[in-house]
């Protein structure tokens, strides 16, 4: 045992003299940083501000008697997510080229999931501990139970109804927005809820637009190509925050004032227009990666150009760029904080900053605690998504040469 540890150390940390010096120097810096960080976390940090303001951070000024709407949406999301995962698992199981690895025990599956999603799981646990009341625990337990049950149901569903589940996702998003909007108008949403909603709506809307732009930029029609190129380069050349400030301070001039939309709509419009340019470039990369032979084969089969684009080129192109699209979604999620700064939303970041001015905490210099919490939440969300996208990349075999 000791010998194997020694061997490991020699092989990984002390291969030669330089290596040993590097290890010692880097290691001591690391230890000191770790010490400072842990001290902040457990000794000097004062986390009441996060605990007291947790509802504000997560949902902004959401009234407590309307919380059932959020609860319903979370449980419904668990239901749909579980179903979709079940159906997908079953599809994979019945795919003809599948290598049969035999049934896996539930424990294995749970461990697997934990390994995949640990940043998100850990953060949710942290939130639950901070919340200190029973209701959130119940909600999480209910959501997990519903998800597992739905997963089992999904695995038993006949494949024919699988498309219904696919349909349920966009319909569910719309229904969720409608349900939430009924309680509090979306111009008053705040906290993490607002960051998530902005990102989800903008990515959904920008995707079709981005695909059209990408097709336009590669089209044989010169005017379309020019328009798409100008659009893409214009939006990629300007910082998002400048566009948001512009929309905030000047959008009222571009449209008749009677129909000027609220701040949330403005933010969504800007985020959508901005992200569409980036999605277009990603999809264009995907289009270029489709071998010309595919198009020629389509032509040889007598397909029209539209059919070739729709049935042959786009599916392959988009499959190739799914990980990049996930990456774009992650940066969109992070960029929603800019909407808060530029438009004065109480999104997660600004809610945290504003909370330091409350009577109980004013002048205590607790902004570090609030910021660390915010960064942690964003990190957990983004990191989980980026890990999943890497997994997807491997599964799809993208980039394998």
């Amino acid at each position: 045992m000791l010998g194997s540890i020694g061997a490991w150390l020699r092989a990984n940390l002390f291969r030669n003299r330089t290596d040993a010096v590097v290890t010692v120097v880097v290691g001591s810096i690391l230890l000191y940083a770790l010490y400072r960080f842990l001290r902040f976390l457990f000794v000097t940090g004062r986390w009441e501000i996060v605990r007291v303001n947790l509802p504000l951070y997560l949902t902004g000024a959401w009234p407590s008697d309307e919380l059932w709407r959020i609860t319903t949406v979370i449980v419904a999301a668990a239901l749909v997510g579980g179903l979709a995962a079940g159906v997908a698992a079953r599809r994979a199981a019945e795919a003809p080229d599948r290598v049969d690895t035999g049934p896996r025990s539930p424990g294995r599956v749970a461990l697997d999931l934990l390994d995949r999603l640990w940043p998100a799981v850990a953060t949710v646990l942290l939130l639950l501990i901070l919340a200190r009341t029973a209701a959130p625990w119940l909600l999480v337990v209910a959501a997990v139970v519903v998800a597992i049950a739905a997963n089992q149901v999904g695995r038993r569903l006949p494949l024919r109804v699988g498309w219904l589940v696919n349909l349920a996702i966009p319909v569910g998003v719309v229904a969720a927005l409608w349900l939430l909007n009924g309680g509090v108008g979306w111009n008053e949403w705040g906290g993490l809820l607002l960051n998530l909603a902005l990102a989800a709506i903008a990515i959904t809307l920008c995707f079709p637009f981005g695909v059209l732009l990408a097709l336009g930029r590669r089209s044989t029609f010169p005017i379309l190509r020019l328009l798409s190129t100008v659009y893409i380069e214009l939006f990629r050349g300007v910082p998002l925050i400048a566009l948001l400030l512009l929309a905030n301070q000047a959008l009222g001039f571009f449209i008749p004032q009677s129909i000027a939309p609220g701040r949330t709509v403005r933010a969504i419009v800007v985020l959508t227009l901005f992200t569409a340019a980036y999605v277009a470039e990603i999809v264009r990369g995907g289009l270029q990666s489709v071998p010309p032979g595919q198009i020629e084969a389509g032509k040889a089969n007598g397909l029209t150009a539209l059919a070739i684009t729709r049935r042959i080129v786009l599916p392959q192109a988009i499959r190739n760029v799914i990980p990049a699209l996930v990456g774009q979604f992650i940066s969109l999620f992070k960029d929603t904080t800019l909407a808060g700064a530029a438009m004065g939303f109480l999104d997660l970041l600004r809610a945290a900053e504003a909370s330091t001015q409350q009577d109980a905490f004013r002048g205590d210099g607790l902004i570090a605690e609030a910021l660390v919490f915010v960064l942690l939440v964003f990190w957990a969300g983004s990191y989980t998504m980026s890990r999943e996208s890497q997994r997807l990349e491997k599964r799809l075999g993208v980039g394998v040469r």
Partner: protein, 385 residues
């Protein structure tokens, strides 16, 4: 692959659907108010005051569009909500609480307007605005009234398309420094001063230092929290803002109030007043008299606690003011407000003195110029008759 395609087409349909819905909404606005009625009927499970904002907006637009150049007053009554521009972290004036409500001096005046116009002080939709966007929000109709610690100046009255109403707080810009660091502004040559960006504060500091022949470096932040941190860290030697603000910040200073000094020089007049959009007299008058109600009530000695006793008063001034029926007649000054609006304001929000004591006195600030004229202050309400 086919699944992807299906998903893709679904997304497309969804986007088209969303676009279609949006345009359908616009159509509804143009055609008739009946459509809105049915909308409301559809969402009957909600209590009245928690109507979605979209509905409120739609209502307001309907009124505006159908009545041409009708007053915002009608629009606000139709929407059953006052959209009040405010902010989220200004101690004493407007602070967002952990439960999402707004508490502060400015917020109470928003409530007074709602009480006067709609009879319910809680029918306010507080919209947090950055300093730089507040006039744009007013111009674009995003808010009905701006009560956000805003100084009344000539160029704002003229150039920003805003009409300022009765001043509800007389303030002045001062300079706060660490006790002992500087005795007067003239000692501060070469100092770094922190201010909030996009306000007159910024220009005032530059002008004042230039006038005294001193050099100064002005850092400006959107976010008060960052100013506070920068000042605490000694990044700035001075923090310039309205004296009321500085007092508020001083009370919360970790090292105690005495660690900071507000210099004696006050280098600007800052009358803080509510503002509405230019060219809407009816709405401007309504907001103005809602503010004046609080001042008048203090002069008459009416508070939220004793207002009901005053209903039986036989003083004709009080009777007129509270809209009490005398011999079958009630004074209706024709402001487009309910005749009992003063009563509603006082009973639900309180008089000026109460509001001041609730939010400003805890900051350690005296009434000073904000006392009634009878006490040597500047508050003076025109007669209500």
């Amino acid at each position: 692959m086919s699944r992807l395609l299906r998903l893709l087409s679904l997304l497309l349909v969804l986007a088209l659907g969303a676009a279609a819905c949006a345009s359908a909404d616009d159509d509804a606005d143009d055609t008739a108010p009946e459509v809105e009625e049915t909308d409301d009927a559809d969402s009957e499970e909600e209590p009245d005051e928690s109507d979605g904002d979209a509905d409120a907006d739609a209502d307001e637009e309907t009124v505006e569009l159908t009545q041409g150049d009708g007053s915002l007053l009608d629009a606000v009554i139709a929407a059953d909500e006052v959209r009040c521009g405010t902010r989220d972290a200004l101690p004493g004036f407007a602070v967002l609480q952990p439960d999402g409500t707004h508490e502060g001096f400015d917020n109470d005046f928003c409530r007074a307007v709602a009480a006067a116009v709609l009879g319910d002080a809680e029918k306010v939709n507080f919209i947090d605005l950055e300093t730089a966007d507040r006039f744009t929000a007013l111009q674009s109709g995003e808010i009905d009234v701006l009560i956000r610690n805003t100084t009344w100046t000539a160029s704002r009255d003229g150039g920003e398309g805003a009409t300022f109403l009765t001043t509800n707080f007389y303030d002045g810009q001062g300079m706060m420094v660490e006790t002992g660091a500087f005795e007067s502004l003239d000692d501060m040559d070469g100092a770094v001063v922190c201010v909030a960006s996009g306000t007159t504060t910024e220009g005032n500091v530059a002008t004042e230092f230039a006038r005294r022949g001193l050099s100064v470096e002005v850092l400006s932040f959107e976010d008060t929290n960052l100013i506070q941190e920068a000042f605490l860290a000694g990044r700035c030697d001075g923090w310039s803002s309205d004296v009321s603000q500085l007092s508020a910040l001083r009370t919360a200073y970790p090292d105690g109030e005495s660690a900071l000094t507000i210099l004696a020089e006050v280098f600007s007049k800052e009358p803080l007043a509510p503002a509405v959009r230019d060219g809407d007299t009816a709405w401007a008058q309504a907001v103005n008299w809602a503010v004046l109600a609080t001042i008048q009530a203090e002069e008459l000695g009416i508070t939220s606690a004793n207002v009901d006793d005053f209903l039986g008063s036989d003083n004709p001034i009080v009777q007129r003011f509270l809209g009490v029926e005398v011999d079958g007649a009630v004074l209706d000054p024709g402001l487009g407000l309910p005749t009992d609006f003063n009563y509603q304001v006082i009973s639900q929000v309180g008089n000026y003195g109460e509001i001041f004591e609730r939010h400003i006195t805890p900051l350690g600030l005296e009434r000073g110029p904000n006392a009634q004229w009878l006490d040597g202050g500047l508050l003076y309400a025109p007669p209500y008759r």
